[in-house]
């Protein structure tokens, strides 16, 4: 909003320059109508960019097949149909894929969050030789794109005979460089005195983590959990390479399969499958985001 109306930023206004509104007006009332309209237009644009594709998915999943392709575009399905949703189940083993997704995402989230918290704690609070070297490795591994390691990982996992197993999908994905980095930085931002107070109060490392550090870190931790869940739920490339059928493949692979079986032009069932795939994540997000509150260190330190 300020980018659209830079002349209106209060700090850029000097006392002798004429202001577009009476000086007595409250700060939020000062912006000119023009800049407000501009701001809302900007917001609208962002909403369109984000929400339109989602809306399109939703209505396409509720349309009959010929209606999806009509020109001009119809924005409300007419008639509404749930047929696409039932065709999702008949086209592919949807529940199998769903089960696989849940298994893979749950295991990966638990493993990554546990490893991330523990490694970040060690890197932030424990003194041991080679600490900065370890940190350097973690950061370096953040810079390597996943695709680079796909081939060597594939060779290794195939050699182990792990193709079409959950282990083959999960183990190579369980790296936590990002979580380690994020949580370590968060831990370092906690008030140092509280950690020292806990040290003086004879809290061992685990007690320190559970009773002192984590209670001040829930928002960051939950954000990390959410990011992990979404990332792992949407994993596509690696499971596609690892899994040949619905015995281990997760939903994104299943959706691609669905497109194959339903025919390349039959978008209805694919969109319905997509909606069904998104739903669990949406629910989890709504449940978790309520806990992402600020101010957990309130009252701990003054100044």
């Amino acid at each position: 909003m300020t980018a659209l109306a830079p002349q209106d930023r209060p700090e850029s206004r000097t006392s002798d320059s004429p202001s577009p509104a009476p000086p007595s007006a409250a700060p939020h009332e000062r912006s000119s109508p023009l800049s407000r309209v501009g701001g809302y237009l900007g917001l609208l644009l962002v909403i369109l960019v984000v929400a339109l594709p989602l809306y399109w998915i939703l209505i396409s999943s509720l349309k009959e097949r010929p209606d999806i392709y009509t020109v001009p575009v119809t924005w409300v399905p007419d008639p509404f149909t749930a047929a696409n949703y039932s065709r999702v189940g008949t086209g592919v083993a949807f529940t199998d894929y769903l089960r696989n997704s849940i298994i893979i995402t749950t295991v990966l989230t638990v493993v990554e969050v546990t490893l991330g918290v523990l490694s970040a704690f060690a890197l932030a609070f424990l003194r041991f030789p080679g600490r900065s070297l370890v940190l350097l490795f973690v950061i370096a591994s953040l810079m390597v794109p996943n695709q680079v390691t796909v081939i060597s990982n594939y060779a290794l996992v195939a050699q182990l005979g792990w193709r079409n197993t959950f282990a083959g999908i999960i183990v190579p994905l369980a790296g936590v460089a990002f979580g380690t980095f994020l949580l370590r930085n968060h831990f370092l931002s906690l008030p140092k005195e509280i950690i020292e107070a806990a040290e003086m109060d004879a809290a061992g490392p685990l007690k320190m983590l559970w009773r002192v550090v984590l209670p001040m870190s829930w928002p960051t931790l939950i954000a990390f959990v959410l990011i992990t869940i979404v990332t792992e739920w949407n994993q596509y490339l690696w499971p596609l390479l690892m899994a040949d059928d619905s015995s281990t493949a997760p939903l994104p692979v299943g959706l691609a399969q669905l497109q194959d079986t339903a025919g390349l032009t039959n978008w209805g069932p694919v969109m319905a499958g997509t909606v069904l795939t998104m739903l669990p994540i949406l629910v989890i997000f709504l449940l978790l985001q309520r806990h992402m509150i600020k101010g957990l260190t309130a009252g701990a330190v003054k100044g």
């Binding site: 109060d201 004879a202 009252g299 701990a300 330190v301 003054k302 100044g303």
Partner: protein
């Protein structure tokens, strides 16, 4: 109950730089309340943290009760710390904050609740035990932080400016409470502050640090009346002492003006060429307004530049008249404490009688002459 000894304790943060604490030698008796003062950055906190085990020692030894604890972890030293920021655990109630250490140390549940209840009673925290720090006032948080230290019944209390976050009034009452509590518990206490009222009123002894080096340690009166150098003299006392540099010495007397000549103690002092003279703000009385008797010894004619009335007392910032050539006051003006009933105005002239016996004399390097 324990004594604390610092033996040549040094802490350098970066090699080649001036150490934050430089060969500190300190002896705190069992049950003593030692206040450590000094300007910002002089190494007070660092010294305290070395005692607590939160900061490694570069060289030297820290002893508690005669036992070398230099290499020991904080938790194994049986020392409790009250932080300037209180550092309470935000997710725990006041009671849990106090019980945390005891739980970690494996104290039995029944024992914990009696000790917490006792501490809460002493600190008047009974009604707040179930409240979290976010819902407490600054003073209440401060008391919880104190409570967390006293429930442990440690060998030593370390307190790092525990009152600096309180407002002036609360600070005065809490100051007295802490001093009383320490007397009652009899726990050896090292208390860091830069507030010199706290230093004068709370401690059995006061240690003055400057740039990591111990300047002087002694009772508050000793420090006030017999400071070892101009730094200690200037640091202790508010408003601070009037220091006049490069005062010429003639016949064993420091000559400030024709009418004010201070006998210089010690043979070395009498032989010196120039000295620094220190006069406390309360070290002079007004003789009479206007021109006095310039002939009298111990009299200092001054012109008033500024007056500060605090209600109970008045401080006059004055310029001496006829100060001997070459000598200069260290501050812009000399400051004297006057009777509040006295009617002094800016620009008026006064003659002060200086109590020569209370005047301090330092050599050119700043060390006290005696």
């Amino acid at each position: 109950m324990a004594s604390v000894t610092f033996q040549e304790v040094t802490r350098s943060f970066a090699p080649g730089e001036r150490p934050a604490v430089d060969r500190l030698d300190l002896e705190v008796q069992d049950g003593e309340f030692l206040v450590v003062v000094g300007p910002s950055g002089c190494g007070k906190s660092t010294s305290l943290r070395m005692l607590a085990g939160l900061e490694p020692v570069t060289s030297g030894r820290v002893l508690i009760d005669g036992v070398d604890v230099t290499g020991r972890r904080a938790r194994d030293r049986d020392v409790a710390m009250v932080f300037q920021s209180y550092a309470l655990y935000p997710n725990m109630t006041a009671g849990e904050n106090m019980a945390f250490a005891l739980k970690n140390l494996g104290v039995s549940k029944a024992d914990i609740s009696t000790r917490v209840a006792e501490a809460a009673r002493v600190l008047q925290l009974e009604d707040l035990l179930d409240r979290k720090p976010a819902k407490m006032s600054g003073g209440q948080r401060q008391r919880v932080a104190m409570g967390r230290a006293i429930v442990r019944d440690p060998k030593v209390f370390c307190m790092d400016e525990p009152l600096s976050n309180l407002d002036a009034k609360l600070r005065v009452s809490t100051r007295a409470e802490i001093a009383n509590l320490q007397k009652r518990l009899g726990t050896t206490t090292v208390y860091v502050t830069h507030d010199q009222t706290e230093a004068m009123t709370m401690g059995d002894r006061v240690a003055v640090l400057r740039a990591g080096q111990l300047q002087q340690i002694g009772s508050p009166t000793e420090l006030y009346e017999r400071p070892v150098n101009t730094f200690v003299a200037g640091f202790i006392g508010s408003p601070s002492i009037n220091l006049i540099d490069s005062v010429p010495v003639r016949d064993g007397r420091a000559v400030l003006t024709d009418s004010l000549q201070i006998p210089v103690p010690g043979a070395a002092g009498r032989a010196a060429d120039r000295v620094t003279v220190g006069i406390r703000p309360e070290g002079a009385d007004v003789v009479g307004a206007g021109a006095g008797n310039p002939g009298d010894a111990g009299r200092l004619p001054v012109r008033v530049a500024r007056v500060e009335r605090l209600g109970s007392e008045t401080f006059a910032f004055v310029d001496p008249v006829g100060l001997v050539a070459g000598s200069t006051g260290r501050a812009d003006h000399l400051v004297f404490r006057l009777d509040k009933r006295l009617d002094v105005r800016e620009g008026s002239e006064l003659v002060l009688t200086v109590h020569s016996a209370e005047v301090l004399v330092f050599d050119a390097a700043g060390s006290a002459l005696s």
